[in-house]
Every structure is written in structure tokens, then in C-alpha cells.
Symmetry: C2
Subunit: 274 residues, 2 copies
Amino acid sequence: MKRSARLVEMTQYLMTKPHTLIPLTTFAERYGAAKSSISEDLAIIKEVFEEEGTGELLTLAGAAGGVKFMPKCGPDKALPVIEELCTVMEQPDRVLPGGYFYITDILGQPALMNDIGRMFASAFAGREIDVVMTVETKGIPIAYATAAHLNLPVVLVRRDHVVTEGSAVSINYVSGSHKSIHTMTLARRALKERSRVLIVDDFMRAGGTVHGMIELLHEFNAMVAGVGVLVESEDVSKEERLLHDYVSLVRVGTKDPGGRQLVVQPGNYFDGMK
Amino acid sequence: MKRSARLVEMTQYLMTKPHTLIPLTTFAERYGAAKSSISEDLAIIKEVFEEEGTGELLTLAGAAGGVKFMPKCGPDKALPVIEELCTVMEQPDRVLPGGYFYITDILGQPALMNDIGRMFASAFAGREIDVVMTVETKGIPIAYATAAHLNLPVVLVRRDHVVTEGSAVSINYVSGSHKSIHTMTLARRALKERSRVLIVDDFMRAGGTVHGMIELLHEFNAMVAGVGVLVESEDVSKEERLLHDYVSLVRVGTKDPGGRQLVVQPGNYFDGMK
């Protein structure tokens, strides 16, 4: 295989296996090439990936060494995407009766979810994480996109006890927005004890739902490794807020008391950038 | 930019924009290169992608021309992945009381979902499709993975009327397995009239749920462009079966009357291969 073809092949190989340590011998055998040639190829790929902001290529030396592709989308690369998203979210017809906020169409765009997943994967790349968790339904595409870039499994908390999952743990939690009580359930076999869990969700006001997931983690002796939300609402007082340590990509507030006019801005992931 | 770096950059650019027509001028401007050089690069990428089974690179000539990457995973590439999946699915502890089949852990693997999405994207690459549809909850990762590879939006049917989505259409349907009546709902604004819809789901027995989605499409004057299910159950008689035209990746049946011992085999996507 020629170098030019090999570069194409290695690029696609690395991109489909993020956060996976690939020994240089794998490439050497795959292409029947010397390790020194493979190293040169990787140097070229690394330079392009880092220049374009696609991600980092981590090289580990030694017998157990190899190369690992870590997809990235830092705040500077992410900001234009999020600013465009803010404009789309500011459309006045997104406010539904009762103050609900319609973003289902936005969550239905896999390419955008992929970008958002890369942003969360960047934000939490340095943490030790075993699984990505969300509660059904709207956070699911964000959880999968994030987990795909981190090469982690997804654990899905259900809002009811679903009969097809075997024995399960349920907790009650108070949803911040309307002070109503809900139930969430996680199958016993779905999460190992002592897992380090990255929680992601689509929307957060006071943080009742995320707080519920954290309580559920205690039942499994599991730990929170981080919290990421696509949209956080600013319509919440400091006293009401149940959660302070999280990453948000978008912040939404209302201009008028009726709440029909939205102000949508980049979230705390971009704080300190302007 | 050197040719070697350009090949890496073009590969990652194409892979992140599947089923999108990219004019050659976009590349020419992006890299400050002549169109003839770009064409040569694309020929190299095309050869590698097709040899490795990553996908096809479709080149359209003329003023409105350009290049389009179509991710592929044909039956020959897919079979080893599905055979491994069959072995995992055959584990006896997957059968839960009531004859339910536990696959939540499998659905929680984003890399596998990505492969499965590529298989469905291959199977339906030739059809005209506007959106990918599924019903919550377990089909969601399959729908997103499929839609990502086809560059299409996802439309999610809910099992209850969710207050945050505005006006909606509901239908009742009979679930084949237990002859019980359920409701599914789709927001009016979620689907345009006359859309061509690819329906995907995680599991199908008689086809009641998929049939329900098809009935819902009629309410929107929309059309079925195809049906793909990850697992189809063979424990259903010909008369019971509501659906005949679909693609399945896995077939599951039971050996014994109690249904504790599963037989899991590749689905109809692989028919005629052995």
C-alpha cells in the first residue's frame, strides 16, 4: 500500500475508533509497513487533526504503547456552532403554553448532536469516566453522541419501571420547574457498583432531574464524574438551584414577564471567552 | 498544504459529512489547490474507501457537480459483526420472566449502534428518504445512527402525549405480543406532509408497533420508504405477521416450549449469502 493510500486508511481507521489505544504493530501488520513509516504517517495525521481542531492524537511510547485519537471541539471551535444554534433557538414560536420550550426539531438533527457530543467529549476528556448516563427521552441522542466520542457505554434511566429489564431500583424526585413528584428507574444489571458516571441531559432549570440521577447513583455506590446539559434555564433563583458544578452549552432566559420573548446565549462552556 | 496532509484533511472532512454533495471548488478553495489535484486526491480516497468497505465516493460531473461520501457496510462486511452479536444475544440469562428479551446492554454500545446504523444506511442507500422515524425508547440509538450516516433528521414518536411538543396526532395500536392496546403520538410540527419515511426499531414480533407507525404516517399523508429492525422474532405465525417488507439484521427463535433457550441467527439482510 502506498503512503498516500495508507494515510487515508489510517485516518478513517482512527476516526472510527476514538479513545481506543491502537498499538503501532496493528498498523504495521495491517499495511505491511515498518513501524518507522507508521510513526511518520501518524505525525502527519496528528498535525492535521490538531490544526483543524478535529482532535488530538496521543502517542504512548513503550511496549504497551500505541496511539489514541481523542476527538475534540474546544470552545473556540464550538462557539460558531453554538451561536448559530442560539439564533435558531431564539425563534419566538418555540415558547409553548405553560412556558415549555420546543427544541425537539433541534434534537432531531444527528449532525448537530454529533457536534454537541464532541463538545462534551472535549469538556470531559480529562476525567476518568466509565459510562455516560441520561434519563429518557430527549437527552438520549446527546448521551449517545457524547459516549461515541469517548468510546463509552450509555446507561439509560427510565421514567417508569419497564418490565423488560429485570429487577430495578426506583427513586422519587421533585422536578424543579413544577414541584411535581416523578419516578425514575434503573435496572440493577445496567450499572456496575463504583462506576464513574458522566450525566448528560437536554435541559436543566433548577436541576431536579439531574439531582434525581445523582441520588440514583448513590443506590449503586456509583460516583458522578461530571454533568453536561445542552440548555440551562436562567429563570431560576440561586436558592432554587440544586446543582452548581456542570457544563452548559446554551443559556436561555426570558426578557418579558410573560416569557414569550427568549434570550438565548452560549452557556458556561464559553465563559471567559469574550 | 502538502498532498499528504491534504489527503488526511479531505478524508476526515468527507467522513464527517456523509450523503452531502461537496463541490470540488470547496476543496480547491479550502486547500488553495488546483481542481485537477483535488480530483487526483479524491481518486485515491475513493479507492481506499471502496477497498476497505468504508463506503462509496460518488463523483458528479458538471457545474452542479462535486463529490458525495456514502457510508457503506454491505452484508459481507456486516456478517462478522452480526455473527458476534448473535453469540452475545444467545446468552441464556437474556430471557426474562414473561418471555422478554434483555438487550439493553447491547443497545447501550454506541460503537455497535454506529455499525448497525451503517448497515441500515447501506440497505436503504438507494431509496429516496426524507426522515428516519422510530418510537421511543429503545429504537432511538439505532434511528440516530442510521440517520447520521444518511444525513437525515430523526422524527421520534412518543408513547404518551408529551406536553412540551404542542398539538399532536395520536393513534391506538394493538401490540402483537400481548394483544394489548397502546397509544402513540406525534407532534404536528414534527413531520411535514408527503415525507418519505424510513422506520427503524429495535425489536419486532408480529409488527404491531411498526404497523402503528405506518398508520400514523397516513395521518400526515406521509409514505413508508422502508422498514428496518435490529431483531425480528420468529415466534410468530404467518397469519399473525402484520408486515412482510422489512430488513432485519438478527433473527431470534426459541428451541424449547418454555422459551428459555434462544437460537439467534443473522437476519434477512444476509439471506442468500450462505
